[in-house]
Amino acid sequence: MIHRGRKRFCFAGARVNLGSGDDCTVWVFFEPIDRRKLPKMKCNRVFSRGVSKRSASQCGGGHLQPLPSGLTLLLASLTMLLVWGHPGTVEAQFFERALVLEGVHIPGPDGRVLEDSNIILRGGRIVELGPDSDAPMMSKKIKVKGLFATAGLTDLSSTLTLDDVRSSSAIHSAWDGFDRYDSQQILRTLASGVTRIHLIPMGPGGIVGRVSSLSLGSRDEGGYGILHSEDVALCIDLNSGTPLERIRTYEKVRGALKSAQNRRETVDDYTSDLEEYIEELVEAAKKKDEEKDEEKDEEKDEKKDEKKDEKEKDEKDKDEKDKDSKKEDGPKKPDRPERDPAAEILLQVLDHELPVMITARRSADLQNAIDLIEEFQLSAILRGADEAHLVLEELAELEKVSLLLEVPRPSLMRGAGPRRDPHLIAQLDEEGISWAVGSGGQSTSLWRSIQQLSGQLSTASPLPLALAQGAQGPFGGWLRRGATEVVLWEGNPAEDPLARPNRVIINGTVVWQRPSGTREGSF
């Protein structure tokens, strides 16, 4: 790639080892190419991932050994053509070393396992997988023979690292509260096979913020978490507080949505008023021109009739004053409504551009949520919904509604919390209501929750259920070409209930690896 910044030329990029053990893309910047100066061309600066790593003196700074000038220019031209044609592909194919996971077993959706397969990753993505895939030359191989590879799990309801973060407005994003440097919690989550989360904001009830989607991959600048979307849904919590507080919360949310509707009317009125104002301005400008013409004519008449009575002069002065006052009374500019970012987000919800995630567990709260959905015709995800079996008919009548369930922990104590019917999922399936599962907490419990759920559903394996979470989006689902997140398990997660993740690879980087036996369990 040729970069023409600061009068220097980037001649080529290459994947090299800088000596620290890290492979990285290096761009070498040269002084302006001049055929006459080519033999004296010096390495000016080495860049790695956009950061200057070494200056000329550090990287040697010596004279390059140039090729014959004609041949050099020919090679440069060919490189330019290739790079400009398909920059990403060329970089991935020519300059990125492939990462090969050798000898893994890959469970498939049909229950069969592709044994002794190779998974080849380039640029962080799987480009080939299967028993017939051969490792390319110069590839970086990781021997993981005997491990089982699946895609990473997606937790659709996570509060990872949000322990002490509270938000209470539509403008708040869960991503803002995510602590990307809380490596302990994030690594524990990765150790449970979860690589992608939907981060749910937490707050005192009502409108608490927006749900973010992120991958738990490592960041170049340190920490973990790569944002995918900050606007997955607007989160409304109707579950917090005493029954009276919950009723107040419902009224508050309803009021906010109504005021958003009113705001839309105000904005519409302002727009039409503004158009009228512009028309009036045009008319006023025309009138002004006409009046000016008239004044000129009158001045000409005055020159002809030099002698006029003083009374007429007084009348004239009065007329001028009237005209001036008319000018001041011209079209009045309408007042622009004050900017309200929270209301604008609520308008996106009302326009179905942003779904709403309503947390409601008890039947009374679910009924409130249903009323909101019906009144404002919302596209909604009901989170929790433990007592959904009590309002099943009302739920079935709604369109654009799905349930995000969390596996409850049944208690022996009566009144300890909402109770879920063990046959709820079967009932939801009968009514055609879509559902998904989330951990509702730190994500470490997701795999166990799904295992527990598969036991309740008497399904043969929890793995299809686990990989179905979030598979509607561009990520998730079974391991396939283009996937960026791979989890390597010590046993077959489709069959072995005690199978544990051994390594997690995101974007071609091993972000977590189970410590060796002696260190296991230590901090």
Binding site: P410, R419, Q442, G521, F523
Partner: protein
């Protein structure tokens, strides 16, 4: 079958002759073919368990050697038969404040059994979730806190004791009170030393020692024990559990809850790697009903061996309370059994059937447990 369990099967097959005579009893029931959790925590496939009419286990034999004339309970494919789960030091069967002790520092008269109410319906509810034993003990507010008491989880007019009480001790902050000695940790440790070397604690059952924090644990190990007590330890990263290596220690840990303290889980795993046997502490009725199996699943995910986790669920709690004939499936033991749909440490496993003293308990439809809905 796992290779490590061949010895167990050999003992069983060796006793076939004895078993067949027992099988001849018409009132016996046989559960087969079923996988059985062995005392060492492993799972033996294709077994049959013969229950005698007196409520004890008559024999554990390979499924094909069971007498077909006996009343047979056919276990579902993949199901696993286990001893009953054991809720250690919870409050199952007791009122909220019933387990509070007085202010006496060395209270050997206190009996936790006095706080137990066998008529509570929570006992039957717990049994439906596979929890068949409950051990209760007073809140550790003195150095000696009376004795523990262990009961069968069965709602009835009278309590059914399944193990003798063990002395309960504490070396923890909960002992320190401003109203009486000791008021400082050093004084408490000094009292402990006197008690063990010269006092009433000499040559007695070391009992069960409540030492929840790392400092309690460290100071407990510094005492001159003739034989190490059962340690009830919550654990954190500073707990010197490596010092238990080679001592044949038994440690009560947990309960581990989802999104709970990961340091406690890591400490338990570290202890297990030194050869310490674990038992999971209970938390009923406040904790989730399946908290014991949940603790096991969390510990396994953190690195605990599957067999060790099963021992911590079944046989080791019985060792903690020195219960005779509970926590194991072997001839002569109580027939308190739970049939799970899968390995009990698999979160997907459900309780299919429960036997208490050989009597099958009424279960809900298809083995699933419908939660009781409160009036709201």
């Amino acid at each position: 079958m796992k290779s490590g369990n061949r010895w167990w099967l050999m003992i069983l097959t060796g006793s076939i002759g004895w078993c067949t005579t027992v099988e001849g009893s018409e009132s016996s029931v046989v559960i087969r073919p079923v996988a059985v959790v062995a005392p060492d925590g492993s799972i033996c496939e294709q077994m049959a368990v013969v229950i005698h009419s007196d409520g004890t286990i008559a024999a554990v034999i390979p499924a094909d050697q069971a007498d077909p004339a006996l009343t047979t309970v056919h276990a579902a494919a993949g199901s696993v038969l286990t001893p009953g789960l054991h809720d250690l030091f919870g409050a199952l069967g007791c009122g909220q404040d019933a387990l509070l002790a007085g202010t006496v520092l060395f209270d050997s008269q206190l009996d936790a059994a006095a706080a137990f109410d066998p008529t509570t319906g929570a006992l039957d509810q717990a049994a439906r979730h596979g929890v068949l034993y409950t051990t209760v003990a007073a809140v550790p507010s003195g150095i000696r806190n009376g004795s523990s008491a262990t009961f069968l989880c069965k709602s009835a007019a009278t309590a059914h004791t399944v193990a003798a009480g063990r002395p309960m001790y504490a070396l923890a902050d909960s002992v320190l009170q401003s109203s009486r000695e000791p008021t400082s940790r050093s004084a408490m440790v000094s009292l402990w030393k006197d008690y063990i070397v010269e006092g009433a604690g000499k040559n007695r059952d070391p009992g069960i020692l409540f030492c929840p924090d790392a400092i309690d644990f460290r100071q407990s190990l510094s005492l001159r024990w003739k034989s190490l007590p059962v340690l009830v330890h919550q654990g954190d990263a500073r707990s010197p559990v490596e010092r238990l290596a080679g001592k044949g220690a038994l440690m009560v840990v947990g309960p581990f809850l989802e999104n709970g303290n990961p340091a406690a889980v890591a400490t338990a795993v570290r202890a297990a790697r030194t050869g310490t046997e674990l038992a999971f502490r209970g938390g009923l009725p406040a904790a989730p009903a399946n908290h014991l199996r949940g603790s096991a699943a969390i510990a396994v995910a953190a690195g605990l061996d599957g067999d060790a986790a099963r021992r911590a669920l079944f046989s080791n709690p019985a060792r903690v309370v020195v219960g005779e004939g509970i926590g194991v499936i072997e001839p002569g033991a109580r027939a308190d059994l739970v049939l799970f749909s899968a390995d009990p440490i698999d979160p997907a496993a459900r309780v299919l059937q429960v036997w208490r003293g050989g009597q099958q308990m009424g279960m809900k439809t298809n083995g699933s447990i419908r939660e009781l809905g409160g009036i709201r």
